[in-house]
Amino acid sequence: MQWHDTGSFGMIFVIVLVAFILFNIYRAETKKKELYIRRIPGLNAIDDAIGRATEMGKPVLMVPGIGGLNAISVQALNIFAQVSKAAAQFGTPIRLCVADAAVFTVAQEVIRDVYQQQGLSEKFDPDSVRFVTDRQFAFAAGVSGLILREKVAAAFFLGEFFAESLIFAETANSIGAIQVAGSTEKSQTPFFIAACDYVLIGDEFYAASAYLTRQPILVGSLVGQDWCKILIAACVLFGFMVNSYQRTQTTSLQRMPWSEAEPEAWAQLTPEEQGNFEAVEVMKDTGTPTLVKKENTGLYRVFNPMRDRESLTVTREKKAVVAPLGGGE
C-alpha cells in the first residue's frame, strides 16, 4: 500500500508554484521586451487624485492598514512610495498614518528615501509619517479625526484593513475626498466598494506595484502567479472531470480506518498503540460492489494521504530519566 501514501503531493505542488514564480522572475530579468499586464483602473486614478489634492492645496492621506509588518504592509508601502514620489514632485503635503511600530520604522525610511531620490530632502517633514497608535479603534478615531480636521483631498487605504475600513471610507466620503482603496481582507472589500471611488479587488493589490513600477522582477513574479493560477484552474478542471467519471463507476474496495476494518485486532491493542494507530487506514474489500463514494475516489486519496500501519510503527529508545531539578516538569 506504500504507493498510496501521497503525503508529498502537496509539497511537490507548492514547489512547482515556487518554481513557476522564480522562473518567470528570471525570464523577465533576462528578457528584453516588457511583459504585458492588463489595465488596472484603480491605479490610473492615483495621478488624478494627487493632481486634485494639489489644486486644492490639501494633503494626501495614506494608510497601510493596521496589520503588523508583513508582505502586505510592505506592498502597501511600495505603492505609497510611488504615490509620495508624485506628491513630492507636485509639492503636495502627505500624511502617512501607521498603526504598527515596525511598519512605522520601514515607512519612515521608505518615504525619506523617496524625497532624497527626488532631491527634495529639505521638503520632507518627518511628522508627515505618523505612528498614531497600535490599537485598532483608537487608530480609527485618530485617523477619521485627522481626515475631518485637515479635509484631505485624496485618501489611499491599501493593506490589511479590518472592521475600521468603513469608518475611514465613510468619513473620507463625507468630505468628498477621492478614495483609492484595496484590502487583502475579502470581508472588507464590499465596504470599500460601497464607499470608495476606486477599489482594488483581491490580488490586484499585489499586482499594483508591478503595474506602477514595471520592474522586471515584480512583473515577472506577477506572470509567475498567473502561471500558478492557470495550473490551479487546470487542476480543478481535470479534477472535476476525473471525479465526475469515477463517481459513476462501482467498486467493492472501501477506504476505512483500520479500527473499523479489523475491530477484533484493534481491540487487542494497548491504549498507547491505539493512540499510535488512530490514523491508520486500509482499503477493505467488502465484496459487494457499490457506487464509488467521495472517500474512495483516486483524487480524494491524492489529497488525503492514507497512512498504513507500517509507516506508523515507530519504536524509539527513551531518554535516560534525569532527576527533575526542583520538581519542574
Binding site: T105, E109, R149, G202, I232, F240, S244, R247, F303
Partner: protein, 254 residues
C-alpha cells in the same frame, strides 16, 4: 471596600464609559471640540496602555522570564536561557532609523521579522489552499436520473441503507449546482489573470461574468456583516440605557 463602595465605583465607571461613548458618537453629528477631546483622551490612553502592555504582556512573560528563569518556592521551575539577551540589541538596532549615516542597521530587525513571515507563507500555503482546491473538484455527471431532484428522505421511512445509497448518488439538480460552482470559480479566476490580453469576446465575456460573480459574493458578505455591526450598536444601546441605569439604581439602593 464595602459592597456599597463597589457599587458606587461601578456607577462612576459606567458613567465615564457612557460619557466617552456619547463623546465619540458626537462625530456622527459633527466634528466638534467635544469629540476632539475624547478622541485625544482615547489616543493617549491607547498609547499609554501600549507602553504598559509591551512589558506586561509581551516582554515580561515571553522574554524576561525566559531569560532570567522562574523560581517556585525557592526551587527552579524554569531555567534561565540567558541567550535571550541578544534579542534586545537586535531590537534596538531599529532605533538607528533616525540616524542619517547608519539607518541601514534598522533593516536588520525588520529583515528578521519579514524573513520569519515569508518562511511561514511557504509553510502554510498547502495547508490553507490544498483542501480548498480539492473541494472545488465537484462531480458534474449525474449517476441517477430517475428523478431530477434528490428524493426526499425526510420522514419517507427509508431504511438507513437506502438513505445512504440515495446520498451517495449524484442527482441532476446537484450536478447542475456543481457545474455552476465550477464555472463561477473559473470565471472569477479569469478576472484575476493579468498577463493575458483578453482579446476574444468569449474571454471578455467570461471575465465580465467573473466580475459579476465577485460582486454577488461581496454583496453576500455585506449582507451577513450587517448582522455583526447591528448587533454591536444594539449592545451599545443596551449599555447606554440599561446597564447605566441599573448601576445608578444600585447606588441608590434599589
Amino acid at each position: 471596600m464595602t459592597q456599597s463602595q463597589i457599587d458606587l465605583f461601578n456607577a462612576i465607571k459606567i458613567t465615564c464609559g457612557v460619557l466617552a461613548t456619547l463623546g465619540l458618537y458626537s462625530v456622527l453629528y459633527k466634528e466638534t471640540k467635544f469629540f476632539r477631546f475624547f478622541e485625544h483622551v482615547f489616543l493617549g490612553l491607547a498609547a499609554g496602555y501600549a507602553i504598559v502592555a509591551l512589558w506586561k504582556e509581551t516582554l515580561y512573560p515571553t522574554w524576561w522570564l525566559k531569560m532570567t528563569g522562574v523560581m517556585n518556592e525557592g526551587v527552579m521551575a524554569e531555567p534561565a536561557y540567558w541567550v535571550y539577551i541578544i534579542l534586545l540589541p537586535i531590537g534596538l538596532l531599529g532605533y538607528f532609523v533616525f540616524s542619517k549615516k547608519h539607518n541601514w542597521l534598522s533593516r536588520i530587525p525588520i529583515g528578521i521579522i519579514l524573513g520569519l513571515w515569508a518562511g511561514q507563507q511557504v509553510q502554510i500555503w498547502w495547508q490553507t489552499n490544498g483542501p480548498q482546491i480539492y473541494s472545488s473538484m465537484q462531480p458534474v455527471i449525474p449517476t441517477e436520473t430517475t428523478s431530477f431532484f434528490k428524493p426526499i428522505t425526510t420522514g419517507a421511512g427509508f431504511t438507513p441503507e437506502r438513505i445512504a445509497e440515495i446520498n451517495a448518488q449524484i442527482w441532476p439538480s446537484q450536478a447542475i449546482n456543481n457545474f455552476i460552482f465550477v464555472v463561477t470559480l473559473l470565471a472569477a479566476f479569469t478576472y484575476f489573470v493579468y498577463s493575458i490580453e483578453l482579446k476574444t469576446p468569449v474571454l471578455k465575456g467570461f471575465n465580465k461574468l467573473g466580475r459579476w460573480m465577485l460582486m454577488i459574493g461581496f454583496g453576500a458578505i455585506f449582507g451577513s456583516t450587517v448582522m455583526a455591526r447591528f448587533a454591536l450598536v444594539i449592545d451599545r444601546m443596551y449599555y447606554l440605557w440599561f446597564e447605566w441605569l441599573e448601576s445608578i439604581m444600585r447606588v441608590f439602593g434599589r
